[in-house]
Subunit: 376 residues, 2 copies
C-alpha cells in the first residue's frame, strides 16, 4: 500500500467495500516497466482497470492501449488516446464491433482463426493484423486454456491469407499466462515465434512485430521475480533468436501497471465458529468473489491482508464473502491466519487489488452494489 | 421456453445478450409448489431474481420473502410486500443492516453463531430467530460448503441463549444444497431437526418452525424428480418424525420459481478451430460466466441450448464467453454438441436461465455491459 493510499484511508475512512488507487503508482510502474523492456511498446491492457483517471494518466505518458471490446476502445478514445494507438486485442469480436472500431480509427486487430480474419478483412480493410499462437504457460498462477490462440501451422497459413485478403500481416502474439513467475515460457515462446517468422519469410511474408502479451507478475503473498530479471531474459531471447534483425516488440501489461497501486478496504461482518471446539474461525468480509475478488477462484490469487490487530496472537481462519452463496468463499485451503482479536466492524485492507477487481464485481448479486472506487 | 417468450423473441428480436422472463410462468410455478407442499409457507429467495415485476407478482399471490441483504429487504417493500412477511435470511449481516431492517418492520432473522445472535438481540429486540444447522447435501448439483450453518449441539445452546437474550426462539433451518435431485437429504435433515426440537423441549424451549430452505430442482439438461415427489417425501418425513405435532413449515424456493420462466438470448460471435484437423470447434457466445452464467463454474449447471439449425448434423464443441479471460469458458468437458452449420451472427437460446443470471452479471468486465432484462 502506498503512503498516499494509507493517508487517504486514515483521513477519510471511506464506506466499505471500496478500492483506493494511487494513480502516481501506476505512472511509476509504467516507467519501471518501460526501463526494464526499453525496446518494447507498452499497450496497457485496459481490462485490468478501465477507470478514466488511469487511462488519462497513461495517455499522458505516451502509452498505447490493448482493448478487449468496442466499449473499451471508446473508453480509451474518451480518455484522450489516439485511435491509432489502440489495438483491438480480443480474438473474439462481433463484425459490427470491428467495423465500429475501424470507423473510429483503430487499425490494429488480433485474430486466431480464419473466420475472424475474414471478418477483419471485410470490416477493417487494410488494417494491421496479428495472429495469436499457443505457447506453454507453465508457471503462471492464473494459467490460460486453449481458449485463445491456434497452432503455429495454422497461424502461418492464416498470415499468408491475411496478405491475400488485403490486410497488413503484421506479427505474432502469444500469452504465457497471467501472473507468470518464470521467464522460461517467454524464452521458449520467442524461439517458437522466430521459427514462424523464418518460415513465413520463406513464403514471402515479412512479419515485423512480436506481441508478448502480459502476465508480468506482481507480488501478492509470495515472492515473484523482479521485472528487470524478466526483461533481461526476454531481451536475451530476442537477441538469441532474432540477432540484429529485431522485430517491433509489443507488450500488454495490465496487472503489472495497476495491481499494487490499489487497496481494497473491507469491513469484517462476522467472525464465528461452526462448533464449540472448532479451531478454525470463519471470517466474513463485506466483499467476496462476487464483489470483485473473482481471482480468488480456486484460491489462485492469494492477497495479503492487513488488520488493526496485526502483530497480536493469531489463529487459523477461513475467509468468505458476504453473500448467501457457499462458492463465495475466498480462502479455505491456503492456511490463512488472522488475529484472534479480530471482530465484526474491524476494517481490513486487502493489498495489491488494483487489477481485475472493479470490473469483475457483479452488478447486484444478493442486492449488494459494486464497491466504490477512489482514484487519488 | 414458454410460448409467450418464444413469441416475444420472434416478434421483437431484442438486442443480445438478454434475458426474457415470462412472469406468468413464475405464478404457475408458485401455485404448483404450493400444491406440492400445502402445509408450507413460501418465502421466495429474492436473490434468485430480484426484478420488480417478479416481486410484485409474488406479493399479489401472497408470497413471503427471504432477503439476503438490507437492499433486498428494501426491494421487497418497494414491491409492496409487508415488512413482516420478509425474513432476513442471511446468517452474515452487518449490525446496522439488522437495525435498518428492524426499523422497517422486519421481525424474522436467521443466524448460525453466537456473535450474530447477539447482534440480532441488540439491533432487533424481541424478533423471531431461527438457527441454521449443518445437514448432508449429497445429490445437489450446486452443493454447499460449511459456510452456513453450525453443529446441532451449538444450535441447541444458542436457541436457549436466544430466549435469555429476549428473542423469540422460533425454529431451525437447513439447506440440502441447490438443485437437489434426491429427497433422501430432506428426510435425514428432518429427522435431525426433530431431535433438536425434542432436546430443546426438554430444556424448556418450545420451537415452532422448520425452515427447509430451497434447492428444489429444475430440469436443465438432465431429468430431475418432480416437485410433487419431493413434496410427498418431505411431508412423509414430517409425519414420521413430528407425528400430529407438526411445526410451521417454511420453504425458500428461488430457482424453482423463476428458472424455467426465463430464456437468455445470445449471439454467436465466432465459431473456430484451433488447428487444421481439430475435430472440436470452439463456439464463442456474447454471454459467458462473467456476463451472468456464473453457475457454469465447474460446469455445474448444464443449460440446454437451442439454435436455428437444430435437427441438422452436429459435432462436438467447446462453448465459451466473449471475454479475454480463459476462465470464461462454459462447457469444455460436458460433451456438448452443436450443429455444424452454426456460424457467427446466429442467435442461440439458453433455456431455464431465469435464476441467478442477472444478478451475477459483472458490472463491466472487459467493458461489456450487463445483459438487458425483459419481463413480459
Amino acid at each position: 500500500m502506498t503512503q498516499k493510499v494509507a493517508r487517504y484511508l486514515a483521513e477519510t475512512s471511506p464506506a466499505t467495500p471500496c478500492l483506493v488507487m494511487d494513480v502516481d503508482r501506476v505512472e511509476q510502474n509504467f516507467q519501471r516497466l518501460q526501463a526494464a523492456l526499453p525496446n518494447a511498446r507498452i499497450y496497457y491492457a485496459v481490462k485490468a482497470n478501465p477507470a478514466a483517471p488511469i487511462l488519462e494518466r497513461l495517455t499522458g505518458l505516451g502509452s498505447f492501449f490493448d482493448a478487449a471490446s468496442w466499449q473499451e476502445v471508446q473508453m480509451c478514445i474518451a480518455a484522450g488516446a489516439a485511435a491509432e494507438h489502440v489495438s483491438y486485442g480480443n480474438t473474439i469480436k462481433k463484425e459490427r464491433d470491428i467495423a465500429a472500431a475501424y470507423a473510429a480509427g483503430v487499425r490494429m486487430f488480433a485474430f486466431d482463426s480464419e473466420p475472424e480474419l475474414r471478418k477483419i478483412a471485410r470490416a477493417a480493410p487494410g488494417s494491421r493484423v496479428y495472429c495469436r499462437i499457443f505457447v506453454e504457460n507453465e508457471g503462471a498462477e492464473w494459467p490460460l486454456s486453449k481458449k485463445f490462440g491456434c497452432e503455429a501451422d495454422m497461424a502461418k497459413r492464416l498470415m499468408v491469407l491475411a496478405g491475400e485478403l488485403g490486410l497488413d500481416a503484421y506479427g505474432i502474439s502469444f500469452h504465457v499466462g497471467s501472473q507468470q513467475t518464470s521467464s522460461a515460457p517467454y524464452r521458449s515462446a520467442i524461439a517458437k515465434v522466430a521459427m514462424v517468422f523464418t518460415d513465413l519469410a520463406a513464403a514471402g511474408v515479412k512479419l515485423r512485430m512480436v506481441n508478448l502479451g502480459g502476465g508480468y507478475p506482481v507480488r501478492y503473498k509470495s515472492e515473484v521475480p523482479e521485472i528487470e530479471e524478466i526483461g533481461a531474459a526476454v531481451m536475451g531471447a530476442f537477441a538469441q533468436h532474432f540477432g540484429n534483425d529485431l522485430p517491433e516488440i509489443v507488450i500488454e501489461p495490465g496487472r503489472f501497471l495497476v495491481a499494487d497501486a490499489g487497496t481494497v478496504c473491507t469491513e469484517v461482518v462476522l467472525v464465528s465458529r461452526k462448533g464449540e471446539a472448532d479451531p478454525v474461525r470463519w471470517v466474513y468480509l463485506d466483499i467476496g468473489r462476487f464483489g470483485g475478488l473473482a481471482e480468488t477462484e480456486g484460491e489462485a490469487i492469494r492477497y495479503t491482508l492487513r488488520t488493526p490487530h496485526d502483530g497480536t496472537a493469531d489463529g487459523p481462519v477461513t475467509i468468505a464473502g458476504p453473500t448467501c452463496d457457499s462458492v463465495d468463499t475466498l480462502y479455505e485451503k491456503s492456511n490463512y491466519r488472522l488475529p484472534m482479536a479480530l471482530t465484526d466492524g474491524d476494517r481490513i485492507e486487502i493489498l495489491s487489488t488494483g487489477a481485475y477487481v472493479t470490473t469483475y464485481a457483479s452488478q447486484k448479486f444478493n442486492g449488494f452494489t459494486p464497491l466504490e472506487e477512489h482514484y487519488i
